[in-house]
Symmetry: C2
Subunit: 189 residues, 2 copies
């Protein structure tokens, strides 16, 4: 839970007493490689804060084709927010690519925590703001269709992942062929 | 300002006294057809709440090609959030397609208002949540590449715009040819 506290304190100071009241809203879960946190068709009951590990968020078309929505690693929040915020069943999958630990938070917990502590409402608003900006950048990068720009965007967003992640997934996320990706990879070293 | 109050009250109740303290943060601006609210290269000083009118948010590639990021109409918030939240110069344009009025809010105003009133922090968090979900849906719709699905998404998101908006812009937003759009339009009536 110390990681959670540090994570919150990057946005807002929080006293020992306040943090004690925050802790019970979260539960820890260990996740092994290739385990699913969310599977298409499930209820999206939780939002996850990643303490360690690497995760891939994707959905499958009926044809079986996979579309990668995002990767997520330490200190990222993730869920199928469309389903989570609207109490709907999810169309997404979240799979663990490198074993780790996550903190789980229900929507009810998120709302109660925000109502109880103005600081936490602030924390969630600021995190959402950053998330919103990241999504807007992803849209622009998808619209622009410039492979080099998309690659640079990815390297900026996930500096730790670009070397580590199987090229197959990076290519898929960027909507590039593996040949184009290798060329950009060589160029940017 | 009565519209602003109604808009806030859709999310949270607010007293007369509280609303009096909220009002000074906003300024009203009339916008004529074809006027720009934001132009590429400007500072993005404001976020806008649209009281009336229709707006188009887009950016231009160096080649001059236009990419439409979103349309915005009554009760929508809009800005170039990448620039607005990061105090950067904008890469986007916001142009008025049908004359109307907007409320303008600076980032400083937004932050001070959120700090002063827990209710307003809540209001902005919930609005961001909805915005975040809308962007995630747009990403999925861009990734899926299924024209029919994209068209339906658009009709759901902008029910008032699909009849009203020049087909050219709808086609561009959806990344479809005008022929495909006309076919879908005829099919869905």
């Amino acid at each position: 839970m110390e990681k959670l506290r540090k994570h919150i304190q990057q946005i807002t100071p929080i006293s020992d007493e306040e943090f004690e009241s925050v802790k019970p809203y979260f539960t820890i879960r260990k996740v092994l490689k290739n385990q699913f946190l969310i599977q298409q068709g499930d209820e999206a009951l939780y939002e996850y804060l990643i303490l360690s590990g690497i995760f891939r968020v994707f959905y499958l078309e009926e044809s079986g084709k996979e579309h990668i929505v995002q990767f997520a690693t330490e200190n990222w929040w993730m869920s199928d927010y469309i389903a989570y915020f609207n109490h709907r069943h999810t169309n997404m999958n979240v799979i663990c690519m490198e074993a780790g630990e996550v903190l789980c938070l229900t929507l009810e917990g998120r709302e109660n925590l925000s109502a109880a502590l103005h600081k936490m409402e602030h924390f969630f608003r600021i995190k959402l703001t950053k998330g919103y900006v990241a999504l807007q950048q992803r849209i622009i990068s998808l619209l622009s269709g410039n492979p080099e720009q998309r690659y640079e965007e990815f390297a900026r967003l996930y500096p730790n992942l670009i070397q580590k992640m199987p090229k197959k997934y990076v290519a898929e996320y960027l909507g590039l062929s593996r040949e184009t990706l290798s060329r950009l990879h060589a160029k940017h070293g």
